[in-house]
């Protein structure tokens, strides 16, 4: 049932949208690490990172030493994607696991005036406090432009975060 303005054709209903976003939120809040994809001379390159998402689900943070390849890749090309999932390394993963691909633009938090990222990250990963606080560790902010949620093996939902409700 829709309230207010009618959704454009093909869009999820408010109810379905809320349900989907709840799964997105759960994944972002429950998982500790994700697989980050960066671009290295036009080729994809993946790394595992500890992340933290903001409440509005529009931003994902992670920390990286500046010496790493993923950091250099981001400097060359800020387009990134990060996969966050709840697989358990079991056969049932194919049917039960949820996987969220988050696409967006990465930037170093130095460039933005609010230094919220580091607090989010420390809350989420207290054991990495010294790491995040290290001067050679950059806090990277991903402004999520789109989520892609995969459920039940092949069911894919795309959520455009730039126009999201």
């Amino acid at each position: 049932m829709n309230h207010g303005t009618e959704s454009p054709r093909n869009d999820l209903s408010d109810f379905e949208y809320a349900k989907t976003m709840e799964i997105v939120r759960q994944l972002l809040n429950e998982q500790k690490v994700g697989i980050l994809a960066t671009i290295n001379s036009n080729k994809p390159y993946t790394s595992i990172v500890g992340f933290a998402a903001t409440d509005d689900l529009k931003t994902i943070y992670f920390g990286t030493p500046v010496a790493t390849l993923k950091f250099r890749n981001i400097q060359d090309n800020p387009n990134v994607s990060i996969l966050i999932d709840n697989r358990k390394n079991l056969g049932s993963d194919f049917s039960k696991a949820a996987a969220l691909t988050c696409m967006g633009i990465a930037s170093s938090e130095d460039d933005s005036p609010d230094h919220l990222g580091i607090n989010h990250l420390i809350n989420r990963h207290p054991e990495l406090k010294t790491f995040f606080n290290s001067p050679s560790c950059k806090i990277i902010k991903i402004c999520v432009s789109k989520y892609s949620l995969v459920l039940r093996f092949q069911e894919v939902t795309e959520i455009d975060m730039e126009t999201s409700k």
């Binding site: 030493p65 500046v66 010496a67 790493t68 390849l69 250099r72 990963h125 207290p126 054991e127 990495l128 406090k129 010294t130 790491f131 290290s134 001067p135 050679s136 560790c137």
Partner: protein, 733 residues
């Protein structure tokens, strides 16, 4: 849930709940051995503290940053220091704090306390690793007690425990620490007993001192010793001690005082008491079915059993045979360090005098025989002083660590290495040598004529001032004395001059914290000790730490003088031989050179043909490392071109901003550091030469990178992260 039990109320002797030591005492108490009133803070308290302060992940990161098997003891000490700091900064839950407070006020406040480690990794029946974890005596107030509890918890991860982690099966998942709290027994006489003498199976040995037995255990007080027949306890021999001092309870820690007159005359055990101790250790042995090493104390006529464990015999510690034990033997007590300090003061004077004798000898005018004798004597001296270096100077290096440990325990700073700024009070010989080298370069550059002489090789025409400075450098800072010969044919001399001329333009300046800041940190430290004896002790400890820190570099400079004396004589030998024979002496060993001098007809076997084998063409590399980790030893981040340094000669090729990749920065190499962009060392630690000098100049430094020399090539572009201990190869050269 309750975290604390009285030992006599414990329901089960579960090792995993109360730890090995408490479980063992619990069983002895059940067998009616008299033990001091004891309480246990269970391992669940440790777990809740670790969980509450999110320490488990932190410890795991510390233990896994680098393969511990590749860590030297210094690195383990550093890891342990950082873990300890995180425990000290942790907070107890209100629940646990309330329980400890209640126990303290209801049961313990009238007597002094001993707090002892009781870890789940020590199983007293099978293993005996004495001194792995910490124990504290003479605790008299609540805040002190809480601090010691944290320290005991942290000592689950002591350097010694980390060294023996495999034997102990130490892990963040399965290892835990309980704390045993005991009312201190004010022992009039105390000691240890071996139910079976490790050196004579038919005997029992009992050792006793006046006062409490920590003095005996630490080796500070010489005990009376009785040898008895194991069968029946007949006295075989009594070896009396002088009994001049004893250790007694003090305000916050035990203190040594003079014994009374009557104590000097009478041994600390009478015949009846001796018999009781003998029975005690026999009973412990029959309970455990194994010879026992028993600690005991007499309060009035009550004989308390403090500890009982299987006998282990300490063999003499040889670094070749048992590196672990030797490393741990480097940890010295404050008193022992003071003794070393006294010795070192004498040694330094002797070394200076003896080195001057070699330097002042005109070796060119010696006969061949005298030259050979001179060589033997230089070699002997070098051997002698090298031995002393290992016996005395190396263990003395623990002085700065002991200071760091105490500093962190009382100040609990955010940066566990803050104490280094206090230690760096005065510059060491190596940094002063760098300053002098810089002055030499300034002198050379001040006069265009000097530069011309260096270019054209007419070094003998250098200005007087330059020559004087050069000779000062050789005398005071142990640069090779061949330099003063000003022979441009000599490779070292040639490279030295070209380097020095380059150096001034590129040199970094030393960074030091403002004096006022150091003074503030220093005052803060001293003020945390009550005025009087304790503050005086803290001051003495600080000075000891500083001296030990200084000596860590300086001792090498002193030793280098003997190496230089020897190599000067060898050079003279070679010079004479070259004048007399048309032979190539490059492949002669030292001994062969000397033999040739004595017997002109001596010919060594054909030296092995040294041919340069072309490097096999590298095919497709299957796998190689691109990023490695070590210990963050000098803060800073830099990307630059790598230069492998395989001997101090290579250093002359170093260009400004290049990253030194080496096995270890020796004090003789530190002159090049000011132009380096970063340092990567195989040897690990925060307090080693390379790390110390890197910090002095503010150069990013990562130590303990096991494969550094193997995986990085000269010319590779590398990034050094001295904050996090990362070395990344950005681009292959």
């Amino acid at each position: 849930m309750s975290y604390i039990f009285a030992l006599n109320e414990v329901k089960i002797d579960a090792n995993n709940l109360i730890g090995g030591k408490a479980a063992s005492l619990f069983r002895l108490q059940k067998e009616n051995f008299l033990i001091p009133d004891s309480f246990v803070i269970s391992t669940e308290a440790y777990e809740s503290f670790v969980e509450g302060n999110k320490l488990r992940g932190f410890i795991q990161l510390e233990l896994n940053r680098k393969d511990l098997n590749q860590c030297r003891w210094e690195e383990l000490w550093d890891i342990s220091l950082r873990i300890k700091n995180s425990f000290l900064k942790g907070k107890l839950s209100n629940h646990l704090k309330d329980e400890i407070t209640a126990l303290f006020h209801e049961e313990l406040k009238d007597s002094k306390l001993a707090a002892r480690s009781s870890s789940t990794v020590e199983d007293s029946a099978n293993r005996s690793f004495a001194g792995l974890h910490d124990s504290y005596l003479d605790i008299s107030n609540l805040s002190q007690l809480i601090q010691k509890i944290k320290l005991i918890w942290a000592s689950l991860w002591s350097d010694a425990a980390l060294s023996y982690r495999k034997e102990l099966d130490l892990s963040t998942e399965n290892s835990s620490m309980a704390v045993l709290l005991q009312k201190m027994i004010n022992g009039q006489s105390s000691g240890i007993a071996f139910s079976q003498n490790p050196f004579d199976a038919k005997q029992t040995v009992i050792e006793a001192v006046y006062g409490i037995n920590q003095g005996l255990v630490d080796g500070k007080i010489e005990p009376d010793r009785w040898f008895l027949n194991r069968q029946g306890g007949k006295l075989l021999k009594h070896a009396a001690a002088l009994r001049e001092e004893k250790l007694v309870s003090g305000t916050s820690k035990p203190k040594i005082i003079k014994t009374k007159k009557s104590e000097k005359i009478n041994p600390p055990l009478n015949e009846r008491q001796l018999k009781k101790v003998f029975e005690l250790c026999c009973n412990a042995e029959s309970y455990y079915h194994k010879p026992q090493d028993v600690e005991w104390t007499f309060e009035a006529e009550r004989l308390f059993l403090l500890q009982s464990r299987p006998i282990t015999v300490k063999s003499t510690i040889d670094p070749q045979q048992n590196r672990k034990e030797w490393d741990l033997s480097l940890k010295r007590s404050f008193d022992n360090l003071l003794e070393l300090q006294k010795k070192i003061e004498v040694y330094l004077k002797e070394m200076t005098l003896e080195a001057a004798k070699f330097r002042n000898k005109e070796i060119k005018s010696l006969s061949d025989d005298d030259l050979r004798n001179e060589y033997t004597s230089a070699e002997q001296k070098l051997k002698h002083w090298t031995e002393i270096y290992w016996e005395t100077f190396i263990p003395y290096g623990h002085g700065m660590r002991l200071f760091g440990q105490i500093y962190n325990e009382v100040i609990c700073p955010d940066d566990p290495y803050e104490f280094i700024s206090i230690l760096q009070n005065s510059s060491n010989l190596a940094t002063r040598r760098n300053d002098e080298l810089n002055n030499l370069a300034l002198l050379i550059n001040a006069d265009e004529a000097n530069l011309v002489h260096i270019k054209s090789g007419t070094l003998k025409s250098l200005s007087k001032a330059v020559k004087k400075k050069l000779s000062d450098l050789v005398v005071n800072y142990a640069l090779p004395s061949t330099l003063t010969e000003l022979d441009m044919e000599n490779k070292y001399t040639k490279e030295f001059f070209s380097f020095v001329v380059r150096q001034t333009k590129n040199c970094r300046k030393r960074k030091s914290a403002p004096k006022s800041k150091i003074k503030r940190i220093e005052d803060n430290f001293l003020k945390s000790f009550p005025a009087g004896d304790e503050r005086a002790w803290a001051n003495q400890l600080m000075e000891l730490g500083r001296h030990s820190f200084l000596m860590r570099d300086d001792d090498n400079v002193f030793l280098d003088r003997f190496k230089d004396a020897k190599s000067c004589i060898l050079l003279e030998v070679q010079r004479r031989l070259k004048n007399r024979h048309a032979e190539n002496f490059e492949y002669y060993s030292e001994a062969q050179l000397l033999k040739k001098l004595e017997q002109p007809n001596f010919i060594t076997e054909m030296p092995r043909q040294i041919t340069t084998v072309p490097k096999p063409k590298v095919g497709v590399l299957k796998a190689r490392k691109r990023q490695v980790t070590g210990q963050p030893a000098g803060p800073g981040y830099i990307t630059g071109i790598a230069r492998l340094i395989d001997g101090s000669h290579d250093l002359f090729a170093l260009q400004k901003g290049e990253i030194i990749i080496c096995d270890a920065i020796g004090p003789e190499m530190t002159f090049a550091v000011p132009i380096a962009g970063g340092i990567v060392e195989r040897r690990g630690g925060m307090l080693i030469h390379g790390a110390i000098i890197a910090r002095e100049y503010g150069i990013p430094c990562v130590t303990g990178v096991a494969d550094a020399m193997k995986i990085i090539n000269t010319g590779d572009k590398v990034s050094i992260d001295g904050y996090l201990g990362i070395v990344a190869i950005v681009k292959r050269g």
